[in-house]
């Protein structure tokens, strides 16, 4: 019965993803909070801006990313708070596993919640703002932006959740770091919405990919140090 093997990286990561998705399917705590917030932001901007057709394409991408980043922050905070509040983070850290697998599992779970909200918000956004967001290129930008945001957000949420002011601290830490990512995502999204030539969009897409790789690599490497007491 004695078992001295340590689980593989993939097995650990999948176990964390399974746990997060199963718990969320029951409670819908993270998804509901993110979705309600995202819908409110979309509605408020819709009434506040009263966009004309000419300016709509240039402003829409900014509104879209403000919605995703704010909703994403709520999701990140709640996802990590669930680990902290019942001491479950200690339970994870005491397991004989590669801690970067825990990070990647949490990150994939957070990405899944963010994408789930985007799947609901994008069609609604298209209707309310009368723009077609269901373009493969734009959806790719949304996915790349979400990967980078979840990647660095999961790491910073792990840090901020240790503090009493976690709800306030996460945006303060996260937003300055993701500015390049959000700028690249807004520019690339605007490029697709305004039907600019691919040559104009490509640099922003490349920047998004580069930031994704950098954010994920750095977060993966430093997660062990971040959770160390």
């Amino acid at each position: 019965m004695k078992n001295n093997a340590n689980p593989s990286f993939i097995k650990t990561m999948l176990a964390v993803v399974w746990k997060d998705l199963t718990a969320e399917l029951r409670s819908r705590e993270v998804f509901s909070a993110m979705l309600i917030f995202a819908l409110l932001v979309v509605l408020i901007f819709n009434f506040a801006l009263e966009l004309e057709a000419g300016t709509r394409a240039s402003v829409t991408s900014g509104v879209l990313w403000v919605t995703f980043t704010f909703a994403g922050t709520i999701g990140l905070n709640r996802s990590m708070a669930q680990e902290k509040d019942r001491g479950c983070m200690d339970g994870l850290l005491m397991a004989p596993v590669d801690r970067s697998a825990i990070y990647l599992g949490k990150m994939i779970g957070n990405l899944f919640f963010m994408v789930a909200v985007e799947v609901v918000v994008i069609p609604l956004f298209s209707v309310l703002y009368n723009v077609n967001l269901l373009k493969p290129g734009l959806l790719l930008v949304v996915l790349l932006g979400s990967i980078g945001y979840s990647g660095i957000g999961t790491l910073l949420a792990t840090m901020s959740v240790q503090t009493r002011t976690r709800d306030m601290l996460l945006p303060i830490l996260l937003f300055p770091v993701v500015i390049p990512l959000v700028v690249a995502a807004v520019k690339a999204s605007a490029g697709y919405l305004q039907a600019l030539p691919m040559a104009d969009i490509q640099p922003w897409l490349t920047l998004l990919i580069v930031y994704d790789v950098i954010f994920l690599s750095v977060a993966w490497m430093v997660f062990d140090y971040v959770v160390e007491e």
Partner: protein, 233 residues
Amino acid sequence: MIHVRQLIKRFGPKIVLNKMAFDVSQGEFVALIGPNGAGKTTFLRILSSLAKPSIGEVNVAGFHLPGQAASVRQRLGVVSHMPLLYGDLTASENLLFYGRMYDVADLTHRVQEVLQLVGLLHRSGDLVRTFSRGMQQRLAIGRAILHNPDVLLLDEPHTGLDQDACDMLDGVLRDVAVSGRTVVMTSHDFVRAQNLASRFDVLSRGRIVASIPANKLSPDGLQAFYRESLEQA
């Protein structure tokens, strides 16, 4: 099984553990008692590899910390006053999750076995957030012994439990968790500690100031021994 020498733990300028020495043989059940702030929880967090020693030698189950933390974690089970369980998962899902994290062989069977041992088989499909505090603590013991660890660390496991729940917890600890394992428990409940432990160590100001085997204490002598130890320290 546990060997600690010259252990110092600092948080900034504050020294929490001060050249602490501590030894536990295989199969021993040591109750670590001491006033609030003596360093009990910090010490258990170091043994469980959640915190790193500032200086000193810490060896658990033949592996040193922090260098061989993964090997120590595989041989360690921890029960604290926090259940370390997910409220939105069922009892069996919680154990399945932790079993995967420890790569437990024949996991489905082992989960059923552990639930039976802690008396929660009939509630295996219920969400943990619907459990009473006592039931959660029993499940926490199940989580801690799921991978059959050599060493069990109990950090004030009775905190927040009523008398009946404490009695039930003690029963589970005695019958299921303790047998054949090396156990270190911190507690403020002297009566319960005396019913469980085979040795008592008093921790004060970051070091062990007194130690006595259970068979050298009168049935209600722990309180007096504790007071004497603190006065002499």
